[in-house]
């Protein structure tokens, strides 16, 4: 008999949601976290889209440790001296059931793990899982930790140990490693008084802003972001690894460059750096997904590369929570039917396929490559901002040129071939349409 029903490795959003589901299903579940508390080693600085929480914690918004509710969302296209922003605001997003929120993950993850513990899961912190145990048939039968007498057996292990999962690697669930599938996320957290943030970003109370930026990463393909917390802002970049290595640029220099941009400097001026951090992000979408289930093991969250980086949609925590929840459901189902082999755990893949987790990834499968392509990164920002500049510039006594003429002239000047523009437009339509 195994020591417990399920071992969940990693108490991030995926792990805690898996543990909540399993504990509520009456399973004996141990949640093992490497840090001293859930969220302690996190560097996330994004928006949490918590719709999946509706299924796990009714009216979660009454208790979740949220910084601000995102009611304003901007997409900024910039060059060194120009910026074109599409700005959207909805006050409906500032009221239940809400749409997205900024949160400090040490608060958010600890809160979510508390729910797992309240449901009956056993949380063990400051403990690193160093490997997997296998039974005589080669099925995963538990984990080895870095503690004395550190072996623990279980019917199922759910690996939520983050990007670059060592457990998935040990089990051979990852394909060949390709650095091009990853970006490096770097972030500065800047402290500013709340009223200054409210004034600069045009919000009040707990309303917040999410700004996504393209064209701000120099010669390195990637993107930028600014998120408002109550009295801090997160400013950062995601940078494609091979380009970053080839350009030999330091990420902190690229952040400094972003902060000095005329469109950004007034927003961040006077902010005191409270934190600088960096982390790998699995950004290649469905093309890099590992095998999600093995005999006695499931992968969820970043360990399963379930992160959606599709230009206008940048989501990760919701995919982590959902995949964790479905992994928990599938594990409970497999234990009930006394079959924890790949076949017995097939309910996991089935659930992912039936919901947004894999449907979105499939639909947007071309998006990561398109968004991080050289044309989108380096030519289109110059093209779009130049067209805008010409459209809004008053050249009296010359008469106003027509938009079609401006577009044609700027396309030619920037050096975009008509067929490439059509090709990318079609790819965009296929992805986002």
């Amino acid at each position: 008999m195994p020591d417990v029903d399920v071992i969940v490795v990693g108490a991030g959003p995926a792990g805690s949601c898996a543990a909540i589901v399993l504990a509520r299903a009456g399973k004996k579940v141990v949640l093992i976290e490497r840090g001293p508390f859930p969220g302690s080693k996190n560097m996330y600085g994004g928006v949490v889209y918590p719709r999946i929480l509706d299924q796990l914690i009714p009216e979660w918004w009454l208790e979740a440790p949220i910084q601000r509710w995102v009611t304003r969302r901007s997409t900024m296209i910039m060059t060194d001296t120009k910026a074109l922003t599409i700005d959207f605001r909805s006050q409906a997003w500032g009221a239940p059931p809400y749409n997205g929120a900024t949160a400090y993950r040490p608060d958010f993850d600890a809160w979510l793990a508390d729910h797992a513990v309240a449901a009956g899961a056993e949380l063990i912190c400051s403990t690193t899982v160093t490997g997997l145990l296998h039974d005589a048939n080669g099925h995963v039968s538990g984990v080895v930790t870095d503690r004395p007498d550190g072996e623990l057996t279980a019917s199922v292990v759910i690996a939520c140990d983050g990007v670059n999962s060592f457990l998935a690697k040990q089990e051979g669930l990852y394909g060949e490693f390709d650095a091009a599938n990853y970006t490096l996320g770097v972030k500065e957290t800047l402290a500013l008084p709340k009223d200054v943030i409210d004034e600069r970003f045009g919000v009040r109370g707990t309303d917040g802003v999410d700004i996504e930026i393209i064209g701000c990463t120099g010669g390195v393909n990637g993107g930028g972001f600014i998120y408002t917390n109550l009295d801090t802002i997160a400013v950062g970049l995601v940078l494609k690894l091979p380009k970053l290595a080839a350009q030999k640029q330091r990420p902190e220099q690229l952040i400094a460059r972003l902060k000095a941009h005329p469109a950004i400097a007034p927003l961040v001026e006077g902010g005191e750096i409270k934190e600088y951090s960096a982390h790998l992000i699995p950004e290649a979408g469905i093309s890099m997904l590992p095998t999600l289930a093995g005999n006695g093991i499931l992968l969820a969250g970043d360990a399963a590369a379930l992160c959606l980086a599709a230009g206008i949609w940048l989501e990760g925590v919701n995919f982590a929570m959902a995949s964790g929840m479905y992994a928990g459901q599938a594990a409970a189902e497999a234990i009930r039917s006394k079959d924890t082999s790949v076949a017995g755990l097939a309910g996991y893949q089935r659930r992912l396929e039936a919901t947004f987790v894999l449907k979105d990834h499939r639909k947007l499968r071309r998006a990561p490559e398109l968004v991080l392509s050289d044309r989108v990164q380096h030519l289109y920002p110059e093209f779009a901002t130049s067209v805008a500049e010409r459209m809004f510039r008053v050249d009296n006594p010359e008469p106003k040129p027509g938009v079609r003429k401006i577009v044609a002239q700027e396309r030619k000047r920037v050096g975009i071939r008509r067929r490439d523009l059509a090709k990318d437009g079609l790819a965009g339509l296929r992805s986002f349409g």
Binding site: D3, V30, P36, F37, S40, P106, A110, E122, I124, T127, T145, D146, R147, P148, D149, G150, E151, L152
Partner: protein, 268 residues
């Protein structure tokens, strides 16, 4: 019984309470100091050599149970929490601890906590129990026959002690690294006895809520016609020490002589 005192405290360098009173620690960042961990390790080593029951005790709210769970996982035999709000005065904490340690042969404490307390609890515990104290130990040698220790004194001096009777010992964090709790220990269901003291006090005792400020002392203006003279007078720079004596007395008479000398010289 071997007693271990564990103080549940915020381990961040600048918790919210610094300078503003004893705020409740953030549970995520709360724990015990390296010195308290060393105290627990020495208790475990003493038990492993000489036998006995280790009782780990903390004084605090229910959230402080976390440090006792860790102590039990590491090998303590029993855990007791005296239920009080965080921030009780040192003497009250010591009285609470002494109630539990009435039968203890040795009580191990850390010699400091992260919240910059006064470090007076071990001495108060010893006084409440009426037993010896050896505080600020920088090296320890636990043996079946007893405990040898090196104690830190002022001016870089050291005092070597042989501890054979009942005593309260406070140790520095560098003396020992707490063993890593086994996984089975963490998974075991801990049983923590909760003692509710008869005497209730407010959480924020005014005497403990303030940051440390030395008491002001009134001095007569220094004599001298120039600023330099006045500074010399004020600091006694260049003056020969007018007092100091070597006497041989038995301990009670020596203590009396020290006190009278300090009074004569104006220190107390």
């Amino acid at each position: 019984m071997i007693g271990v005192c564990l103080k549940w405290v915020d381990r961040r360098p600048e918790p919210a309470g610094v300078g503003g009173g004893p705020d409740q620690p953030d549970e995520r960042f709360a724990g015990v100091s390296a010195a308290d961990q060393a105290a627990l390790e020495w208790a475990l080593r003493q038990r492993d050599l000489a036998g006995g029951e280790i009782v780990a005790v903390t004084v605090g709210p229910a959230a402080a149970d976390a440090v006792l769970r860790d102590a039990l996982a590491a090998g303590a035999d029993r855990a007791v929490r005296v239920d009080r709000p965080f921030g009780a005065p040192s003497r009250t904490v010591a009285d609470d601890l002494a109630t539990v340690f009435a039968e203890a042969t040795t009580v191990w404490c850390g010699d400091y906590s992260f919240d910059r307390g006064t470090g007076s609890v071990p001495a108060f515990v010893a006084a409440a129990l009426g037993i010896g104290q050896a505080l600020g130990l920088v090296a320890i040698d636990v043996d079946v026959a007893g405990i040898g220790a090196l104690r830190r004194l002022d001016g870089g001096r050291r005092e070597r002690l042989a501890i054979t009777g009942r005593a309260v010992l406070s140790v520095e964090g560098g003396t020992a690294l707490l063993r890593r709790a086994p996984l089975r220990g963490l998974l075991a269901k801990p049983v923590i006895d909760v003692v509710v003291p008869a005497q209730r006090i407010d959480a924020a005792h005014p005497a403990d809520a303030r940051p440390f400020r030395p008491r002001p002392r009134a001095f007569a203006p220094p004599a001298g016609s120039t600023a330099l003279d006045r500074i010399r007078t004020l600091t006694a720079a260049g003056a020969t020490v007018a007092h100091g004596e070597t006497v041989t007395l038995d301990p009670p008479a020596a203590a009396e002589r020290i006190l009278s000398a300090l009074r004569e010289w104006g220190y107390i």
